[in-house]
């Protein structure tokens, strides 16, 4: 199935968790925060939240800023 991650279409297996999505993308959760359809998914729930076709995921980190 297809989901949107940071505005890009990504193919994932149906029912895949956010934790597994991060592994698929080769991302360490430590410096990241994840939002699903506009709602924050706390780190403690990355393993249990299953992705659904068409989900809009935002994966963000901290960058230089003022």
């Amino acid at each position: 199935m297809q989901i949107q991650v940071n505005g890009e279409a990504i193919e994932v297996e149906p029912g895949r968790s956010i934790a597994k999505l991060l592994v698929q993308l080769q991302k360490q959760a430590r410096y990241l925060a994840v939002e699903r359809n506009g709602l924050l998914v706390p780190r403690s729930r990355h393993g249990e939240v299953a992705l659904v076709e068409g989900d809009a995921i935002e994966i963000v980190t901290l960058v230089g800023g003022g």
């Binding site: 901290l62 960058v63 800023g65």
Partner: protein
């Protein structure tokens, strides 16, 4: 004078710390981490500035990252309190989402900055001036969610009062537009903001955020009685950022001391510094 410190020692040790919400700092300079040419230069400038608070932004993680370096690998998280901002948000909703995301990251890193946010809700991409109505709305919501909210505002005293009324931990009026380097364009508004915000609450923190161009702007803000200054571009985009970082640290201290020392009144005419008596006689003509 009752000052017991030695003549060469700065009387800063006697100064009360800066308190914002649950946070306490000795340094009154907050610096941003944007626009540096390298992380190494940023690191050196942060150290030279003497700041204990540094701001960062929340942005999308690059899915394919060539360099793979994170700014967080160049920041001592045990030394600095990170102040995440909501820069680039043009609605209250976006800013609230970004504040939650920043808190999530900093909670995971166990940084004390996890409970606060520098709220920016911008009204316009050209001026980057805040949208005052959306800013008040976002402040109200974030306070409800337990954030200590440091609010980037215009220098309008009425907006400042509204922000404090809805629970802002600090109101941070802009000296001039972000990155403009114009300094403090309307010191009278900043003075009125402070009068209103500190009325019956003298320790309420007011921080000038944005517009600083050089060290004298920082000293001027501190001399106005502001509790601190937040800046980024003035250091990061200076010709010699490291030298400017030192200058900003000294200017903050100089302005603070000058403010506390109490300046002389301005007078139209001169007052002699040397004795007016005992001068030698004019030659007979």
């Amino acid at each position: 004078m009752t000052n017991s410190s030695s003549p060469s020692e700065l009387p800063l040790a006697a100064d009360r710390p800066l308190r914002i919400g649950s946070h306490t700092f000795q340094s009154r300079l907050f610096v941003g981490t944007g626009k540096y040419s390298t992380y190494e230069l940023m690191q050196a400038c942060l150290a030279a500035s003497g700041s204990e608070v540094i701001t960062v932004a929340v942005r999308r993680e690059r899915l394919i990252d060539k360099a793979g370096r994170s700014i967080l690998d160049f920041i001592d998280l045990s030394k600095y309190t990170i102040l995440p901002n909501t820069a680039g948000c043009f609605t209250a909703e976006e800013a609230i989402r970004v504040a939650r995301l920043g808190r999530e990251i900093l909670s995971g890193l166990e940084n004390p900055g996890a409970n606060w946010v520098k709220l920016e809700v911008l009204g316009d991409a050209k001026t980057l001036l805040p949208d005052p109505i959306a800013t008040v709305q976002a402040t109200e919501q974030l306070v409800k969610e337990g954030f200590e909210v440091l609010v980037y505002s215009t220098d309008d005293p009425i907006t400042a009062k509204r922000l404090k009324a809805v629970g802002a931990a600090s109101v941070m009026p802009a000296g001039s537009p972000i990155g403009s380097g114009q300094g403090i364009l309307n010191p009278n508004n900043i003075r009125i903001c402070m009068e209103y915000l500190k009325d019956g609450d003298p320790d309420y923190p007011v921080i000038v955020d944005a517009g600083v161009g050089s060290a004298s702007d920082v000293s001027f803000a501190m001399e106005l009685g502001c509790d601190g200054v937040l800046l980024n571009t003035a250091i990061a985009s200076a010709t010699d950022p490291l030298k400017m970082a030192h200058a900003m640290r000294l200017a903050t201290v100089a302005g603070r001391l000058s403010s506390q020392a109490g300046r002389i009144p301005r007078k139209l005419y001169a007052t002699a510094s040397s004795p007016e008596t005992g001068t030698i006689a004019p030659l007979p003509r």
